[in-house]
Subunit: 416 residues, 2 copies
C-alpha cells in the first residue's frame, strides 16, 4: 500500500546503489511522481545480485518500485539537455516539479545549471564523503568502530555488519531533506541545494548516540559484548528444539516480565543478595549480564520453541525469534498478506511476488496499491509528452536518433 | 551546525529510547522548535549508559540536543491536560504548531483527543509492531535474517549487529513522515494520524533490498560470507603495522582502481584465464571473491598502513580504515572541527565536547550553531508562557502544586 501524502510532487531521480534509490522509493511510495532517468541498457547497478534466471535484478526492482522510467543516452548532449529540461520543467496543474534527487555528482547536472532554468529548483545529492571523496556503506562502517565490537570481535578481527545500515539511514534522511525543502519552498518560494554525505551521517550518529562523547570525555570505547545488548539486559538463548530467541529487559517493565516468565524471581533475588547488585537498575543488569544469562539459560534450553513463545507472550516479554528470510516467510504472520503493508505485485521480468508498500500507516486515509518497478524506458514516451509537452513526431525523432528508448531495449527483456 | 529549513514549526515530543528522540532531534536540528515533554525526575531512559561520573547520560544528551524541555508530572490529570494543551495550541505569529511525535501510545494522548482541540493536528507514533505488540531494535533484527549471515555466523550461532540500525532508520523515516504531513497540511489544511512500526519498517526493507523476493522466488537465503561484500568484491585486509582496511570493487571503476593500486593486473588476468571468470563482471567478482582476496592479501600484508593509504588514495580506490571511536577522534580529520558538521558545545552536567549538528549541507545558507541538550525542565516557564500564554502567577501555581518543575529538580544536578 502507498499513500498520497506527497501527491502532485514531481521528482527526477538519477541514481544508483542503495541510498538515493531508497530516498526516491520513499518519496514515490508516499505519492510523489518519481521519474527515474535510466541509461539505455541500464546503469551501473542494473544487474546487481540477486538476479532472476533471466537476468533481472531483484535488488534493483526492489528499490525502484513505484517509479516511472525514461531511458536516455546520457553520453550525448541532447540526452543531457532532456534531463535538465525534465528537472527544470515548470509546475503544471497538479504537478509541482523542480526537484532532483541524485548520487551522481556530474557537472552537466550541476545545481547552478538547473537553477538557471528554474530559480526555485531543489537538488539533493548523496555523496560518499562531504569533501568529495568516494565512500560506500562498508568503507564508512569500518571507520565508526562498530565492526570492532560486533559478535565478540576485536579491533584486529573486526566483524562487518551485513545490513547496509548507513545507506538505509541516508536514504530516509535524504527523503526527509527533500520533504522539508519542499515544505519550505511551499511557504517561501525558495529552492535549495542539499548535500548529504554517508560518512557525515555516520559520524553525526556517533555523536547523537553518545559514542563520541564517551570516547572524548570518558576515554573509553564500547566493549565487545557478543550478542548482549549494551547498557541493560538482553541476549539470545537456545530453545530445546527450534530457533534461538532474543529477549530483552531494557525497561523495568520488560525486566519484570522476563523474570516472571522464566520464573527466576527467587534466583534473581539470591543473585542480588550474593553480589550486591540491584537488578532493578538497568545499568546494574548490564554489569551482571553474564550471571543473569546463566540463570535464564536452563529455562530456555528445557523448553520447545512453541512453549517458549507461548509463555513469553503470556507475560508480555519483549522478544523475537531468529529466522532466515525463508523461515520468516513461512512462519511470521507479520511478514505476509495478513499485514496490510504487504501485497502481491507483478514485476515485469520477475513475476508475481510479495512486496511491501510503505511501512507508514495513515489512519482513515485511502491506501493505494503498490506499483512494481518499471522496465527501463517503460514511461519514456509518456514522460516526454506529459512533462515536456513533446508531440508524437518529436518523440519519434528522439527514438530514431537513439537519444531515448522504450522498454524493448531493456536488456532483461527477451526477444520474442 | 543546524539550518532553519523547518523554521517556525513547533513539535511536541513525548518519547524514550532511540527512534522517536532521533526523529525529534532531526526536526529540531533542521530548525523546528522541539518541545520535549519530560517527566519530573526523568523518564524511562534518562539514566541510560554511558553516563558521566555525576550521572548524566551521554546517550540521552546526545539524542536530545537542540530541544527545549518542560518537566511535567504526567501521572496527574492537570499535567496531562497541559500536554494536550501544548499539542493543541493554535498557531501564533511565526509558530506553526499542532504536531506530536511520540513512541508512547498512551490513551490520554490519543489522536482523537488532540483532534478535538485542533482539527488539523498531526500525530506520529512510533510502535514496536504494527499490531500493537512490543518490540525493540534487537528483537526485530533477529527476525530479519541478518544475524544468521553476519561475521560468518550460522542460524544456530547468530551474530547481532551492535548499531541500532532499525531504530536509526525508523527515526529518519518518522522525521520524513512528519515533514511530508506538514507539507500536505500547508497545502490542504488536513492533519494526519501517522503510525510507524519498527518491524514494519524492517520487513519492508527486506522487500526493498530484494531479500524477500529472493527468498520467495529463488528459494534462497543470503549466504554467510564473513566480511565480504555481497554481490561484488569487497573485503577487509590486514596491513603490516596498523589498522585493517576495508576495500571495495563494486563498480567497474572501483574494481579497476583496486587492481591498479595493488598492481595485480597480470595476476587477475591469469586468474581469469585459469578459471574462466570474467572479473569485469561484478557478479563474477563475487563468485571469485576468495581467489581475488588471496591475490590481494600479500600486497596489504607487505605494506605499512601509511603507505597503503597513500597508494589507495593515489589510485582513487574506495576504501576505509577500521578504527575505534577513540582512534577515529585522533586520526580521522573528518571526525573533528575541520568538518563543518562538528562544533564544540557545552552540555549542562556533561561539560564541553565535540558534537554534531546536522549531516545535511545546504549550499549558500547560513548555519546556526548546534545547541546542547537541556536539563529536565530548563524551558518549563518559557514554554508555558510563550506557547500557552500563562501569566507568571499561574506558572508559579503550577510549580507550587508540583504539576511542573524547573531544572533544579533534575536528578543529575548536584545540590550546591
Amino acid at each position: 500500500m502507498t499513500y498520497a501524502l506527497l501527491q502532485g510532487l514531481r521528482v527526477v531521480e538519477s541514481s544508483a546503489f542503495v541510498a538515493a534509490p531508497l530516498a526516491g522509493l520513499t518519496l514515490a511510495q508516499h505519492g510523489a511522481d518519481l521519474i527515474r532517468i535510466d541509461r539505455i541498457g541500464g546503469g551501473i547497478d542494473y544487474g546487481r545480485l540477486p538476479r532472476m534466471p533471466d537476468g533481472r535484478s531483484l535488488y534493483w526492482t526492489g528499490l525502484n518500485k513505484a517509479k516511472r522510467s525514461i531511458a536516455i543516452d546520457l553520453d550525448r548532449p541532447e540526452g543531457r539537455e532532456l534531463v535538465r529540461s525534465l528537472v527544470g520543467a515548470p509546475d503544471a496543474a497538479g504537478a509541482r516539479g523542480g526537484v532532483l534527487l541524485t548520487n551522481i555528482g556530474t557537472p552537466w547536472l550541476a545545481h547552478e545549471l538547473l537553477r538557471a532554468r528554474r530559480a526555485d529548483v531543489i537538488t539533493c545529492t548523496i555523496q560518499g564523503h562531504g569533501d568529495g571523496g568516494t565512500a560506500v556503506d562498508y568503507t564508512v562502517l569500518c571507520a565508526t568502530g562498530y565492526p570492532a565490537v560486533t559478535g565478540g570481535a576485536t579491533p584486529a578481527r573486526p566483524v562487518n555488519q551485513v545490513l547496509p545500515a548507513w545507506d538505509i539511514a541516508c536514504g530516509y534522511h535524504a527523503a526527509f531533506a527533500v520533504a522539508a525543502a519542499v515544505e519550505r519552498r511551499q511557504r517561501s518560494g525558495h529552492g535549495a541545494e542539499l548535500k548529504l554525505a554517508l560518512s557525515d551521517l555516520a559520524y553525526a550518529m556517533l555523536s547523537h548516540l553518545g559514542v563520541l562523547a564517551e570516547a572524548e570525555l570518558l576515554q573509553q570505547d564500547r566493549p565487545s559484548i557478543g550478542n548482549h545488548v549494551y547498557g541493560a539486559f538482553g541476549r539470545d538463548f537456545a530453545t530445546a528444539d527450534g530457533p534461538r530467541v532474543m529477549v530483552v529487559g531494557i525497561s523495568a517493565t520488560q525486566w519484570r516480565a522476563l523474570v516472571a516468565a522464566c520464573d527466576v524471581g527467587a534466583a534473581v533475588a539470591a543473585l542480588e543478595s550474593r553480589t550486591g547488585f540491584d537488578l532493578s537498575d538497568e545499568a546494574q543488569r548490564f554489569e551482571a549480564r553474564d550471571a543473569i544469562a546463566a540463570l535464564l539459560e536452563p529455562w530456555f534450553a528445557a523448553r520447545a520453541h512453541a512453549e517458549v513463545a507461548r509463555v513469553l507472550d503470556e507475560h508480555r516479554v519483549c522478544w523475537g525469534s531468529y529466522r532466515t528470510p525463508r523461515e520468516a516467510l513461512r512462519e511470521d504472520p507479520r511478514l505476509g498478506l495478513s499485514n496490510p503493508i504487504f501485497e502481491r505485485i507483478a514485476t515485469p521480468g520477475v513475476g508475481t511476488h510479495l512486496a511491501a508498500g510503505v511501512a507508514l500507516r495513515l489512519a482513515d486515509e485511502p491506501r493505494r496499491p503498490a506499483r512494481p518497478a518499471p522496465l527501463l524506458g517503460t514511461d519514456t514516451d509518456e514522460v516526454l509528452h506529459d512533462v515536456l509537452g513533446l508531440a508524437a513526431g518529436e518523440v519519434g525523432r528522439l527514438h530514431d536518433a537513439g537519444i531515448v528508448a522504450g522498454p524493448e531495449r531493456d536488456p532483461t527483456v527477451k526477444p520474442r
